[in-house]
């Protein structure tokens, strides 16, 4: 059996789509707005992956990568480099900022094996800065967290707070003991503590899973809301 040429199939599909779109707009089923139509086409093209891998999804995926790269490109030029580099150099005469450009060119030597030491030097400097900030950040984050971990195990306030503090203490100690891998856990107290810690960690993992489901569904609801209420205009204009 001869298969219909791909080009003819695409032409027929495009024509059918155009007819449906025209009739839909004519009889006010769809919104008559170019922006909404563009957004709807982009949305449906991405959702086509749910049926199976196809050329439309790949095409729009590449368009997305191009748009994202282009957006980052122009944003960096207009909001970072222009006010923080070009204006100081070209308008304020701060010639020494040219060293920032010269230093950043060292990152581009990653493509050259002969000059890759320059990339190592630039990356090493940045890693050093990050490492320094990491050492500083350790103190500023850990201090309050440790202080807050010393909760009173007995207080004249409500028994709810007392019970919570005791549960917090048990959970913290047992979960920490679960992560002691530098020695073998032989003693029954240590083993029991680690086992209890594992159980209590399951609660944290369950909470993370529950919240992950919540997060992902919210994103789906956002797109469905657009398709149903703004594009299809179910129950009138929104």
């Amino acid at each position: 059996m001869n298969r219909t040429p791909a080009g003819l199939t695409a032409l027929i599909a495009l024509a059918a789509f155009a007819v449906v779109a025209y009739l839909g707009i004519r009889y006010r089923i769809f919104a008559a707005n170019l922006g909404i139509w563009l957004a709807a086409i982009c949305t449906l093209a991405i959702y086509s992956i749910l049926y199976r891998e196809n050329v439309v999804f790949r095409f729009f995926e590449h368009i997305f990568i191009g748009l994202a790269t282009g957006y980052g490109f122009y944003t960096i030029i207009t909001q970072v480099l222009q006010p923080k580099w070009w204006v100081p150099v070209a308008k304020e005469g701060k010639w020494y900022w040219v060293f920032a450009l010269l230093f950043s060119t060292m990152f581009y030597t990653v493509y050259s094996k002969r000059f890759s030491w320059m990339n190592r030097l630039a990356a090493g400097s940045f890693m050093g800065l990050s490492a320094g900030l990491g050492i500083v950040g350790f103190t500023t984050v850990l201090g309050p967290q440790m202080a807050a971990s010393f909760k009173p195990l007995w207080t004249s306030a409500s028994p709810y707070i007392v019970v919570n503090n005791i549960l917090f203490f048990i959970t913290l100690i047992t979960v920490m003991s679960y992560f002691f891998f530098s020695f073998e856990q032989r003693h029954p107290v240590v083993k029991g503590s680690a086992r209890l810690g594992r159980w209590l960690l399951m609660v944290a993992l369950g909470a993370i899973f529950g919240n992950t489901v919540m997060g992902r569904m919210s994103l789906l609801i956002d797109r469905l809301q657009f398709l149903l209420l703004q594009w299809l205009q179910v129950f009138g204009r929104h």
Binding site: C42, Y71, F73, G93, G132, T171, G206
Partner: protein, 314 residues
């Protein structure tokens, strides 16, 4: 023997760090009269001299043996990290800084300059990502690989977004089309608006939302309660899922809002799970992560880290 070796290494690091810091400070002070804004011919000469000096420095370092280059990289890493460490851990004001006007920390004023410089350099290095992508897709087009038309679409989208983004910033009211047929007037702003709001935003949002479908499939096919611990985890997940939506809140809405029974309300149980047990477990994990991050930072700072990147030949 091992302890003596570590003591010597620590002393070398401390002394070299101190010398490096003093040298940097001295250099900054000596050169500060040079680093002043210039105009006209002086500006041009300063730029030219900077470029020549930079190329000369790079040429000199390039000719050095690999071991010396590695030592330069290690020293640069150490001094870069030492800056933030000294700035934070030395007091803001102390008699130790006797040479300063109000005995203030000499590194604090440099925070702003270093932050600005890193911001600008990070901006320039973004183009590396754009360049890499262009290289990959350019090769795909040149070699006419299957699906090369996708790479053409990438370039068209990239160029259009970049061009119209810049146009939108500097001249948004530029008219591109004056009254052709039923098209009345098209400006650069309108094209940019469609590219951003009608294409970029929906594409990004939809790509992220596809994950929800895979989550639903995973819920049906992969989440098997094979042990008591898994059952415990699922109960916690169900409580958190129901306790944060109106349906779950409605299930226990007949329970009082105050008093002992209020703790059995679905939203109270969800908040208790998140705020007590889960919080404690994640805090324990955070302690481990913080210590691990400190260890990694120290290893990178002191050149103790090993791996393909750190051990490659220069």
């Amino acid at each position: 023997m091992q302890a003596r070796k570590w003591a010597i290494v620590a002393t070398i690091y401390a002394v070299s760090g101190l010398l490096g810091a003093v040298a940097l400070w001295g250099l900054t002070h000596l050169l500060s009269p040079v680093f002043r804004p210039a105009t006209g011919v002086a500006f041009g000469l300063a730029i030219a001299a900077s470029v020549v000096l930079w190329i000369g420095l790079v040429a000199v370092i390039h000719r050095l043996p690999a071991a010396v280059k590695k030592r330069i990289v290690v020293t640069a890493t150490f001094v870069a990290g030492l800056f933030y460490v000294l700035e934070y851990y030395l007091p803001a004001k102390s008699a130790v800084f006797f040479w300063r006007a109000h005995h203030t920390n000499p590194f604090s004023p440099m925070i702003f300059t270093v932050g600005d410089a890193v911001s600008v350099i990070s901006g320039f290095t973004f183009f590396l990502a754009a360049f890499s992508l262009s290289l990959v897709h350019g090769k795909s087009i040149a070699a006419r690989r299957p699906g090369y038309y996708n790479s053409i679409a990438f370039f068209i989208a990239f160029i259009m977004m970049a061009v119209f983004g810049l146009w939108e910033t500097y001249s948004p009211d530029t008219t591109l089309i004056h009254h052709i047929g039923w098209i009345r007037r098209v400006t650069a702003h309108q094209v940019y608006d469609h590219l951003f709001n009608s294409m970029y935003v929906p594409l990004t949002a939809t790509l992220f939302s596809v994950l929800s479908f895979y989550m639903a499939t995973a819920a049906f096919r992969a989440f098997r309660i094979r042990s008591a611990e898994a059952a415990f985890m699922m109960v916690a997940a169900f409580v958190c899922m129901l306790g944060q939506v109106p349906l779950g809140m409605w299930l226990t809405h007949s329970l009082p809002l105050h008093g002992p029974l209020s703790h059995l309300r679905m939203e109270a149980m969800a908040n208790w799970t998140l705020g007590v047990i889960s919080m404690a477990g994640l805090r324990a994990v955070t302690f481990g992560v913080l210590v691990g991050a400190l260890a990694i930072s120290l290893r990178i700072w002191l050149n103790l880290e090993r791996g393909a990147f750190f051990e490659q030949e220069l």
